[in-house]
Point group: none
Chain length 407, copies 2
């Protein structure tokens, strides 16, 4: 199997001013054409550092891609470094190969350096001013791509992908993603057992972000159809093993899945939030087209608001407190009644950092879902600070609604 | 000067499924404590690959940080690799050092591996289940941090930063941050002119994230007091140059500054949102203690909700459309009246991707601020897609309110 390695060139990456999304993008697209990236190096804008990066990368892989350092300024040194690595001089390219010539514009003095590439290499067209470079040496392929993500992506599609498909030939990779909520990473790993073993094909990978677990199924085969079949088979296997823990596919969010289900069934929803303060509504309205099912939302942060807007009796708040099963229930029922929706969900809790007591500590949250089938209320407890408590409360209620909508 | 190098561990990085924001975050915070990152390596979840990364990194730098590979699953191999690199065995730590013991919960079998760290190393507390690791070898410091960004950041602040400040010793670095909103990066660079030159001390760095520009003043001197003075001098200079473009310091958000000003003056606020769908309220209630000034919020996503909840006349919506100056104004006035607050802010617009027309294209947003001094409405236009339009609309109205609260 052909492997790739990436060298990201630029002080702005090592100073943290720029997140290296280029490396992630290249890794993802390369994997999907069957050329896995096995290592990635970020180096400074210095010739020796770049040469060292090229040496390391070419020890790891058959295809080496650099990004950045092709601009016109003094700290753009990738072309010099690539020439040094290849042991050749820089040569002025035929101007027809460079973008400025293509534009029929005079090349500014500053940009002239961009017309030089290592002897024997090929210039790659760019929508920006700096051409990319392709070189072959000792059976390995080198691509120097610009650092501007838009230019880099375009150059990859137009010039790199066709070369690599030729170079790699005869291998297909299919990737499927399953999104899970409601169990931790280790629980899911335990449920999957040997499926997550390393050398397995398809490979099952697991990542966690903001409480959402993403399972990747990466199937490699001689042809696309076979890889697709392998991935599909594992997808079914994971679905039967994890059941309702899987809420979606690809990059779907919980709110997106809930929104889709509401739209499919022609149902509407209203929300009444206290401690989440708009976050739940925000998640639902992140979805394009959410006006189809989302109509009303109340952020009843004060007790008065709960009473005046949702009709929660002041005595109820007095007796049980704003953070209570009774009030969560009254909020959801009040919201559904006022909005005239099919569903209403409410959240009231103590997100902290202040406001907790021994009886009602920070992290205590009541969530309630009201529908024509009645009102269900759940007492939850979350950790890890205000933002996490708020997010997890919103995710949890969305998940409850998702399960209700499955029935 | 002490240098750092980063080893990012994880197939999910090399497969492009995860963008390596950890490396960027660490690079940025390390730079700010005077420990520049000189190289960064991404390696696969394989013991030999991690060991090789550790070798490369320790050839480059004095402080080596790894992220990822500390979880409980079979492909979490950083602790084994670090032990191999250090030439020691893994040892079971005193359980009091591990998070599960602290929680007074039985450690699940699967998580037991997380209690092992290389002999002679120190476990670092984690809000997640996997402790981090600190080791010293041949005068170099090694930190193994978790891959989950929230856990990693917290562990860096609590356990790594104090160690590095001790390790770096002898040189004082003072960093001040100024947060700006209301102008682009290039406008600010132009206003600052030569102040942003590379070799300057204090160094003025500029980063942009979600429309917020952060200026870092990084002053380096022999002692803390001198560095502090240098930084303060530049802070004043920037304040006089940028004026009201600067809204805050440190990591303050716009909503935080607005909240502080409201609390200081004992003023209250209500919000009425259409296209931002709860985002504005969410930003305000992200602030701990926001119940002091935030009381009511309405998400009037449907026209009916605007009329029933905020008293926006149906005829007004009919005549001018829900996205209009008139409706924005009526929403703010209605919200303030109903909530009985000092201020009310409203947002109505077309966040897209659908719903735009020639007269009212996607990105058109009206924002309104009502107070006892009357109601101001502004027509805005934002680009770059639904989420950006929503965020920028919320930020813009918060910024208008901030400027009003300055008077």
């Amino acid at each position: 199997m052909i492997k790739a390695s990436i060298v990201s060139v630029g002080n702005e990456i090592l100073s943290g001013q720029t997140v290296d999304t280029n490396a992630a993008h290249l890794s993802a697209v390369l994997l999907l054409i069957g050329v896995p990236v096995v290592s990635s190096y970020a180096v400074r804008d210095e010739i020796d550092a770049i040469v060292r990066g090229l040496n390391l990368a070419s020890a790891d892989a058959d295809v080496i891609l650099t990004t950045g350092g092709l601009g016109p300024t003094d700290d753009d040194l990738t072309r010099q470094a690539l020439a040094k690595f290849l042991g050749v001089e820089l040569e002025l390219q035929d101007e027809r190969d460079t973008r400025f010539a293509g534009r029929d514009r005079q090349m500014p003095e500053r940009n002239k350096i961009q017309a030089y590439i290592p002897a024997g290499a090929k210039a790659l067209a760019n929508i920006g001013t700096a051409p990319g470079i392709m070189a072959e040496s000792e059976g390995k392929l080198f691509f120097a791509l610009p650092g501007v993500p838009m230019e880099m992506k375009r150059m990859f599609e137009e010039s790199v992908r066709p070369e690599l498909e030729r170079f790699a030939g005869g291998q297909a990779v299919v990737v499927k993603k399953l999104k899970c909520f409601g169990a931790g990473e280790s629980t899911i790993a335990e449920l999957l057992g040997t499926m997550m073993q390393r050398g397995r094909n398809p490979l099952i990978n697991c990542t966690v972000s903001s409480g959402i677990i993403t399972l990747h199924i990466i199937a490699t085969a001689d042809d696309k159809e076979k890889a697709e079949q392998m991935a599909k088979k594992d997808e079914k296997l994971l679905q039967s093993t994890l059941g309702e823990l899987i809420y979606g596919v690809r990059d779907q969010s919980l709110a997106e899945v809930v929104g889709e289900k509401l739209a499919q069934r022609g149902k509407t929803i209203a929300v009444a939030e206290s401690c989440t303060g708009g976050l739940l509504a925000k998640l639902l309205t992140d979805n394009p087209g959410s006006s189809k099912y989302f109509t009303y939302g109340w952020i009843t942060y004060s007790n008065e608001a709960k009473t005046s807007e949702l009709g929660v009796p002041a005595e109820l708040i007095q007796e049980y407190g704003a953070v209570s099963e009774q009030v969560a229930r009254a909020m959801a029922i009040g919201a559904r009644k006022k909005a005239g929706t099919d569903y209403a969900i409410s959240i009231t809790g103590i997100a902290g950092p202040a406001g907790g007591t021994e009886q009602k500590p920070v992290g205590l949250v009541y969530i309630s879902v009201d529908s024509e089938n009645g009102c269900d209320t759940k007492r939850c407890f979350f950790y890890h600070g205000r933002q996490f408590i708020r997010l997890r409360a919103a995710q949890t209620v969305l998940n409850i609604l998702r399960l209700k909508l499955n029935i």
